[in-house]
């Protein structure tokens, strides 16, 4: 793995610096983290790159992980434009974009930019759409304990006490929390997104933890139903962060997705 810092020029925003960890070589994937920050996908990227001939690029969203965020970079759409431009700069083709939670929302917005460089998307317990009766859990009103309870099928191996973290780590966690608010707002939804998704023609795999307490399974089904020909797949004994809790299931679902159960398309 190596990490590189790229400077991307974005119209109306200016130059944006983004740090990108680069794992493995081969078929390219862009892996986008959610509000839990880049470390929530790093282990998965390492595991995926070790098990298949894949190159997994993991950017840190500006504002997360202690990275600076330009003041004008304020929306999920801005992040999508940033990564679209990154793929241009790297001249990558046949890229599959994978995103978890807010990273899934960014992934959906990247798909809507319709770059030919992006050939497929994988939405893992993504937020972003509004589904009546199935709101995204209000992250900002939850205690840290409740966040862990809702994020994992079995939270115990992942539970930490933020008060025990060193000051630098606590500052990063506070920065992550602020960045979530800037990019996704408190509702973590865009009321117009679900309608826009209907214009997509891109191959789409929607993976959902069956124990997700942040965005429930019906929300996930609604996400898949909004995207023409998207395939929906539940992951057993898995919460909101499958790449952390059941990474082997996620890799299998992506790599072996040709073993299609055609009923998956008839929701």
């Amino acid at each position: 793995m190596n990490t590189a810092l790229y400077t991307i020029g974005l119209a109306g925003i200016g130059p944006v610096e983004v740090s990108v960890a680069d794992h493995g070589s081969g078929q390219p994937f862009l892996l986008l983290h959610g509000g839990a920050g880049p470390q929530s996908v790093t282990g998965f990227a390492e595991k995926f790159a070790a098990s298949h001939d894949v190159r997994v690029l993991v950017p840190t969203h500006p504002g997360f992980g202690g990275a600076p965020r330009p003041e004008a970079l304020t929306s999920v759409g801005d992040l999508a434009a940033l990564y679209n431009a990154l793929l241009d700069q790297l001249d990558l083709r046949d890229v599959t974009v994978i995103g978890n939670s807010i990273g899934g929302w960014v992934t959906a917005e990247i798909a809507l930019l319709k770059s030919p460089r992006v050939s497929g998307i994988v939405l893992i317990d993504a937020v972003g759409i509004e589904v009546p009766g199935h709101p995204v859990a209000d992250f900002f009103s939850l205690t840290i304990d409740q966040v862990f309870q809702r994020s994992f099928h079995n939270p115990e191996p992942f539970r930490i006490d933020p008060a025990t973290l060193p000051p630098a780590a606590q500052a990063i966690a506070a920065g992550n929390r602020a960045a979530i608010g800037v990019y996704a707002g408190t509702t973590m939804t865009d009321p117009a997104l679900v309608g826009r998704l209907g214009t997509l023609e891109i191959p789409t795999l929607v993976l959902w933890g069956d124990s997700d307490g942040i965005v429930d399974v019906d929300y996930g089904r609604a996400y898949a139903a909004a995207i023409p020909m998207a395939r929906f797949q539940l992951l057993a004994e898995t919460g909101h962060s499958p790449q952390l809790e059941t990474p082997d299931l996620v890799i299998h679902a992506i790599w072996d997705s040709a073993d299609t159960d055609f009923a998956a398309f008839a929701r």
Partner: protein, 248 residues
């Protein structure tokens, strides 16, 4: 008069030279998410030669990229198309658009163009171009259907056949097959008995995820060559890279 020749530009997009005229088939000059040639595009729209006609089998983007082809320098170039393409062709500015139904024919610069039957996921026609004793059959991406056996009976000897071979299946449509496969293309070769056959429509990919979720296909044209060797030994099968001009 120059020889009959074919240059595969990419996928099902060819330049066919016959009777001293040049025709373009199923234009595809760009890419979109989930639609990739899987091989080079040997000639860009700006570098196309002067065309005497364009044949379009159906409206699917990988056969009917009118948005890109609209940049061709002469929008009065005659288009001979499936009827489902007419409206879109006119919307893209083409002024000389003729719909041909199966077995209808027209003449273009001394070359007789006959639409022939097809079956695909949408309405489609295929085409035979004839000039004197030489005839080229362009099969678009049809399935093998019994009606195709009428081609030599109705239209005489075929010299050169351009056949799809990837046996494309659409997974979400209950894995429905929509394009003939290598074995079926070889069976059609045995029916048409051309001197030369060139496969196309095999390198196409929907990308890493699309090839897993949406389509399955055979990307190896050698399977057709092997099958044709058994079923149609008198026909020479030539697998051609995009940009290679092959004379009959």
């Amino acid at each position: 008069m120059s020889n009959t020749a074919v240059t595969r530009i990419t996928h099902s997009c060819h330049l066919i030279e016959i009777g001293g005229r040049t025709f373009l088939t199923d234009p595809w000059f760009s890419t979109r998410p989930g639609y990739y040639q899987g091989e080079p595009i040997a000639v860009g729209v700006a570098d196309l030669p002067r065309l005497d006609g364009v044949l379009i089998t159906h409206e699917h983007y990988d056969h009917c990229d009118l948005q890109a082809f609209a940049a061709y320098r002469d929008q009065s170039v005659p288009l001979f198309v499936a009827e489902t393409v007419v409206e879109s062709a006119r919307k893209h500015g083409f002024t000389d658009v003729t719909a041909l139904a199966p077995w209808q024919e027209v003449e273009a610069g001394g070359v007789t163009i006959t639409a022939t039957p097809a079956r695909h996921g949408v309405y489609e026609v295929t085409f035979v171009l004839r000039s004197g004793p030489e005839a080229v059959y362009f099969a678009g991406d049809t399935m093998l259907i019994p009606e195709l056996a009428e081609i030599p009976q109705r239209l005489g000897h075929i010299s050169l056949a351009l056949l799809p071979t990837n046996g494309l299946h659409i997974r979400p449509a209950n894995n429905m097959q929509v394009v003939m496969n290598a074995q079926e293309a070889a069976e059609l070769t045995a029916i048409l008995k051309p001197e030369l056959a060139i496969p196309h429509h095999y390198a196409f990919t929907k990308g890493f995820l699309g090839d897993r979720l949406i389509t399955s296909s055979d990307k190896n044209p050698h399977r057709y060559q092997d099958a044709a060797r058994d079923l149609a030994p008198a026909t020479s099968v030539r697998i051609t890279e995009p940009g290679t001009r092959v004379e009959l």
